[in-house]
Subunit: 232 residues, 2 copies
Amino acid sequence: MDKIKTIAFDADDTLWMNEPIFTDTRLKFEEILGKYISINENLEKELYSVESRNLKLFGYGIKGFTLSMVESALELTNYAIKGKDIERIILLGKEMLEHPVQVLPDIEEVLDILENHYHLMIITKGDLWDQENKIARSGLMRYFNTVEIVSEKNTATYREVLKRNSINAAEFLMIGNSLKSDVLPVIEMGSQAIHIPFHDTWTHEMIDKSEVNELTYIEMSSVSKLPEYLGV
Amino acid sequence: MDKIKTIAFDADDTLWMNEPIFTDTRLKFEEILGKYISINENLEKELYSVESRNLKLFGYGIKGFTLSMVESALELTNYAIKGKDIERIILLGKEMLEHPVQVLPDIEEVLDILENHYHLMIITKGDLWDQENKIARSGLMRYFNTVEIVSEKNTATYREVLKRNSINAAEFLMIGNSLKSDVLPVIEMGSQAIHIPFHDTWTHEMIDKSEVNELTYIEMSSVSKLPEYLGV
């Protein structure tokens, strides 16, 4: 990989913990609904189906997720849910927005090494306000030359980001936890990608492994192996 | 103004109608609450106070506004509001997100002239997903070389936008309807600004005119006067 000049990192569940906060919130949401209905696996499916149908309108992020929780709660309880419990659900969303940013293990040590050799970027999708706040609170901003917050990660948006920053696709490496958002579209435009799986993946980001079967990308169990792999 | 090379337009209530959609939604919101409480001017004040206290957490945009409407409704009705009416409030938010984009009069004609003489930009604050959708649906994208969606419009963010796009502050002109967001911070960094007031202004964007008393900026009653003013 001696041609690589720019390395871009995904943010949520690559630089810091994210999905476990959603998972934890879903459990608290079920606890609230448990007063009205019996809790089973259909409840999570129902919430995900409301989330999915709202995605085109809301985009990614906690505010849209919170609105989807309220909507699911109304539907699942057949509108019997009490005002105080609606308020509790909104509060769950607010707690997510204020949740401390927990940088993942080895990230700082690896960035310390990489910053001397590469142009470093963050490319993250989601809510502008929320992502900017997390980046600021992570304390990692000093490592990154450029931050790009996009509404969706596909080949078109990656191409735009590279063009805007005058980056040659052959000299670009993307690192992230989502095959769908961080690996597939990047390989498709002729760049390189490293997949670092995270133990908790949102259903929306899951893809059938056969989709990437014939593509060439690296899977790495830990970011700590990155410097050696890159030879720096 | 013969030095100007880049002209940036604000989007909401400069390129297309926005605040009237919020005003209209506030009226529909009051109608829903009218079943529970008597409607008076305090109601609008209460909603604005919830919006303001949530702004730091939610940022600008329709999703945050919708969550604030639900929260106000719970507080104002002392949690008596029924589930069906909470759902109606969420639907109001969804209708806003799907509202057709109404480009303001003379905008297209003016852009038709300007695009031959200047590098044209959009600089807008708000929700990334929502703003991108509105830009796409406006049909105006063909006129603009660059779109910058920022979370807040202050001198720091304008400086960053100019730096990122290699624009000299002395060659930059900003056009918008908000003195607070489109004029003050731009003048402060040594660029030029034209204020085109819109009949409907969100309380949050209002400032005391004395704040801009000693600053030099142009106020224009209609965007149609822009080409003549610029001499193109």
